[in-house]
Assembly symmetry: D2
Homo-oligomer: 164 residues x 4
Amino acid sequence: MTDSSILVLTTGGTIDKAYFDALSEYQIVDSGIPELLKEARVALPFRVVELMRKDSLELTDADRTLIASAAREAPEARVVITHGTDTMTETAKVIASEVPGKTVVLTGALSPARFAETDAPFNLGMAFATAQTAPPGVWIAMSGQVFDGLKVRKDREAGKFVAI
Amino acid sequence: MTDSSILVLTTGGTIDKAYFDALSEYQIVDSGIPELLKEARVALPFRVVELMRKDSLELTDADRTLIASAAREAPEARVVITHGTDTMTETAKVIASEVPGKTVVLTGALSPARFAETDAPFNLGMAFATAQTAPPGVWIAMSGQVFDGLKVRKDREAGKFVAI
Amino acid sequence: MTDSSILVLTTGGTIDKAYFDALSEYQIVDSGIPELLKEARVALPFRVVELMRKDSLELTDADRTLIASAAREAPEARVVITHGTDTMTETAKVIASEVPGKTVVLTGALSPARFAETDAPFNLGMAFATAQTAPPGVWIAMSGQVFDGLKVRKDREAGKFVAI
Amino acid sequence: MTDSSILVLTTGGTIDKAYFDALSEYQIVDSGIPELLKEARVALPFRVVELMRKDSLELTDADRTLIASAAREAPEARVVITHGTDTMTETAKVIASEVPGKTVVLTGALSPARFAETDAPFNLGMAFATAQTAPPGVWIAMSGQVFDGLKVRKDREAGKFVAI
């Protein structure tokens, strides 16, 4: 394995949702990803860039183009993207066509990272390992599994990602 | 990626330490790994076998032989082993010579899984992803990094694993 | 202090909010109060009754009458009520006029109990202690403070309860 | 109720235990009490003084005299003391004879505050409420209950405090 740097792009999604009592509503807030990586005692060099704070149902084509550009133009060859789960596979398709030669892993969470019970740190760990061990291409790390980013869908009712 | 099953062997270590007030001491207890995998919403088939509950400084040659046998004889081709960090690399050597043709990933934690702040779920996520994406061999997933199991050491003072 | 039983009535509110990925929304769910009391290792006899699961902005006069009846008719002389914070003081007024001779303590949370960072267990601890130490009347335990239930308001902007 | 300030004296004990991987042992560390009070969103004025970091089995007569002096000489009339559970009742006796006219509440935890599952925030909430609502004297807030500090013992086998 190499020890080269990992770029983490955060885009929002459930993983970064918090609750605001003053508004009695949940909103996506400043990313908790740096805190998760500190808690995980990650000693590998990494860089976190907060691109946007959106529910993935609200992501536009322009947003996806921006995400792909940020991944493509970065010096790092290994990229982890935290993303809402509902349209994660759509962004994976854009990445597949616009970011050649890099290992890009999308991940997120079904339960917010700020919850006591959450899949966020496990999923982020999967993404970090996949970024280091998988060949160039687009991968999705969710539900305990590493999927080819173009051969997976979210089964909303079952609450998990499944291969197609 | 394949969706074939993962075998998880638990052997003890800091990851499974808890505090017993009645004794005013910490001990390794029943493994918290199944709970972590449930919280991570792992949908991939897996099986957890609790082999022993030992601090890794107390592991004997016989213990390591038992761990290697359990990995070798199991039907699963992908094995995750949770293990104390102090002698993780010694067990990796035994696995390397006695478990051919399988992808075996050792992981553990520097802070117990029962702590509010812990590297346990992140590390377990790394191990699960590595078991699915790395070629046969022995790997160690710690400190945010996936290492060749034969080319890594624990830097006790720095509190992290480093490549050698 | 006496060791007589405490009745806990749950009515909903932020303290019991969770996130449902399948709906991409937060809802009040089955009460986490019994789990909190178990984690707190409460050895005092208590009984938990889930009355309703409502945001306190949605509580009707009939709901408040029901809450007051449940407190008044119960055999316990000490009652803790978990409640949404926005109209907690309105329910306190109804309790004050309809539940004579009992020590009733309302509490809740500004951050859901299921969050990693939450005021829920601290507030519930304040409520349990107040139920045991305060004279009959209506009390509100929030923001680290025990208030006369008729002389307090929620300062929504400041995110805390203040005496009036 | 009054809104006058609360003094929090920390002395160590299980509530402040953490694990040090470099030493493979648990030690009492810098107090997590300020963090707990922040998480609980305590708006009441308070002051935290770290007196010592000791397991309560190691407390000497001189230590108890120091704790009592700190409580007696402080300007605050309401004092919360976090303390190891094994000799909490011994310190209560010293406080009872040496700190007249103040409401002093001792509390602690059977499971460290840094654990995911802990009685620490609930117990601290009980102590804060008792400091505000109980008359002058010495109280112990543990096991979901507020005890007269001179009429309670720890039942080590049962893992709880019981009235005597």
